[in-house]
């Protein structure tokens, strides 16, 4: 493979799969925080997780 093709293949994978991984981790952390907040507040429904 040419160097430019390798660079753009890596860039595509890093940017798009990296974007997916970063956003998924962010969502997971956010939902966990919300669930903990809800839990400590009243023990009410946290099923939105």
């Amino acid at each position: 493979m040419t160097l430019s093709a390798v660079v753009f293949m890596i860039l595509s994978i890093v940017l798009l799969w990296g974007g997916l991984a970063a956003s998924a981790l962010y969502l997971r952390r956010l939902l966990r925080e919300r669930a903990e907040q809800e839990g400590t507040r009243s023990g009410e429904d946290t099923s939105y997780r």
């Binding site: 040419t2 093709a5 860039l11 956003s23 969502l27």
Partner: protein, 520 residues
Amino acid sequence: MSAPTEQREQWSGQLGFLLAAIGSAVGLGNIWRFPGVAYENGGGAFLLPYLAALLTAGIPILFLDYSLGHRFRGSAPTVFRRLHPKAEPIGWFQVGASFVIMCYYGVIIGWAISYTVYAATLAWGDDPVGFFVTDHLRVEEPAESFSLSFTVVPGLLIPILLVWVGMLVVVLLGVQKGIEKANYIFMPLLFVVFTILVVRALFLPGAVDGLNAFFTPDFSALTNPAVWLAAYGHIFFSLSIAFGIMITYSSYLKKKSDLTSTGLVAAFSNSSFEVLAGVGVFATLGFMAYTQNMTIPQLGEETPLTGPGLSFMTFPEIISSMPGGVIFGLLFFGCLVAAGFTSIISIAQVVIAAISEKFGLTRTAAAILVVGSSGFFAVVLFATTAGLPTLDVVDKFINEIGVVVGAIAMCLLVTYGVRRLGQQQAYLNRVSGFQVGTWWRAMIAIVVPLVLTVILLVTAVSLIREGYDGLPTWFVLTFGLGAVLAAAISAVVLTALPWRRNVDDFEPDDAGEPAEEVTA
């Protein structure tokens, strides 16, 4: 109007919604459209306009769809009516476009089912093109002299019946037990099987040459406006945005749900799958070029590298010449079926939810009505000897004109018509972790309508000047423009009919918790 009586259905949780949203976005286009579009528009360099389109149009419209559906809790017509009573036709227009797409999309899934069976015996022999056009579809090309017979092809009926029965079963089971469960089954399966296919393709001789052709950047393409328009056009169709799907799906989210972060995951999942598909498709095409002693550009002149031609003409030829081709073929066409099925149930739900809310029908009645009538049109229009050119022209017009018009109307309505863009931004930020700023409003108010209007004009001028794909003008006008006009006329007629459920008595709870309002 009678009072609402039913509790609105809900996803079991955010993961169920996320999988369904990804299942809707990841469809046939990801596998057969993106690789070819990227290759023809700069190869690796296409990544730049693609990312720009994703961040400035795809994700902003996705957020707008989510915010409208979640805040106004309804199908597209209900949501637009709640925005402003005179905006209801925009919702029905999106529903009409979805109905048309549903009719032909299911027929293509039917072809994929047939090819899954054909793959077991490599039934296409040594002439896959002739087999697809003549033996499978029995195509009759339209002529200038208005001669065309819509004779139903019996061999297409059983797979189509399977698709429609499967669709009916899923939508009858409802949002949580049907659509969500189907996505829980099909989406992980699709990702696992497709990854196996890609890995297998990477080990074929010539795969590196295919990847070389796919990823080698042609930077001169970046100065070509058509390449940027192709990127915006592709992202727009790929994400299932602006034809009511995401409005409908997000309306089933529980009140305490995160919209923007979920949207980012859905959008990047769709794009990640597209890149994976690009790798798999071009590694496989590299193998074909290797066996025929050609380069990929030479191969592109001989055989289709995108669309149904790629899947039903080029791939069968590759499968025949590949070691272990039968298994590869079964898995490849199985992936097409899975990707298509999770998309078509989302399109069906757009229409079913809208009809159910407007006419006060139960889910069962609305599902039977919508699935039954779409099945009828699918058979009489697309399962015939004229099915292939009809499908082609209807797809071109309904996607590139109908859906684009609906999207422009939605952005202009929210921004300048009812001036609710600020409210939608505040709502998104109230319920979500990832905050949207002025950039989001600028995209919805200026960039998206501007880019889509340019795309629309370029498409319209091209169609007027050059026609479409060498097809007779009468045929293009009757079925292409006819499909768009049918969606528009049905929007006017359905708006004029009285509501059987009270959807006007609704106030969104802008404290961050949308009212637990009703309708089916």
